[in-house]
């Protein structure tokens, strides 16, 4: 097999690995955080009416 073909295959493999790892990282970040807004919960207290 031609050397340049093999080298192109290696570059493609590395880029593929990078894309997959970035996708996995984004997936992990999504799992750790809520879908919207910040991770801290809002405290809502109802004031009694007189």
């Amino acid at each position: 097999m031609d050397t340049k073909t093999l080298a192109a295959g290696i570059v493609g493999f590395l880029l593929g690995g990078l894309v997959v790892s970035i996708a996995a990282e984004i997936e992990n970040d999504d799992a750790r955080q809520p879908a919207h807004g910040s991770a801290t919960q809002l405290q809502i207290t109802a004031r009694p009416t007189t």
Partner: protein, 172 residues
């Protein structure tokens, strides 16, 4: 720069790429296996270096076997031609991987591993290029293997060194 200098640079670049391809296959497989199985950095590097030499030599030996050399004859030519280049590549490659924070212990799903690998292999190419150029100028390195390759396979090869050695007997 003269056309002869450019030809030699291009020959050296081809030789370096050829060497790097074999090294990279072994290096990537070794680092992937070591990282996936959770080996320590030292064991992972040892595995990667071993496989890089194995694949590097194999990739250079196969064309010589096809050219009709005996196994040990081909191996002796390849040892003489590729060893220094592979040593330089492996030193630089593993050093770069070791100094990039998180590249060795982040796992395969860590983008730093893949970016680190790209940086390490690119740096290894840059480091090994002058070595191959120097060896080629001295009639060593990949210049030793050129005489066994078919002329049609390597366009642009065949500088002064090759013309000088055209009358010499084959190695092995």
């Amino acid at each position: 720069m003269s056309s002869m200098g450019m030809t030699r640079n291009s020959m050296a670049a081809n030789a370096t790429l050829h060497c790097l391809t074999g090294c990279a296959i072994g290096e990537i497989v070794g680092l992937m296996v070591g990282t996936a199985l959770g080996f320590s950095a030292a064991v992972t590097i040892a595995l990667a270096v071993g496989l890089a030499f194995l694949f590097g030599y194999a990739l250079s030996t196969l064309p010589l076997l096809k050219a009709g050399l005996s196994f040990f004859g081909a191996l002796s030519v390849v040892f003489a031609a590729d060893t220094l280049s592979i040593v330089v590549m492996e030193l630089v490659d593993n050093l770069v991987m070791a100094v990039i924070p998180g590249a060795m212990d982040g796992g395969l799903v860590n983008p730093i591993f893949w970016v680190g690998m790209m940086i390490a292999l690119s740096t290894a190419f840059v480091a090994a290029f002058p070595v191959n150029r120097y060896l080629m100028d001295k009639g060593k390195g990949h210049a030793l293997t050129h005489q066994y390759h078919h002329h049609g396979d390597h366009t642009g090869h065949g500088g002064a060194q090759e013309q000088e050695r055209s009358g010499q007997p084959h190695h092995g």
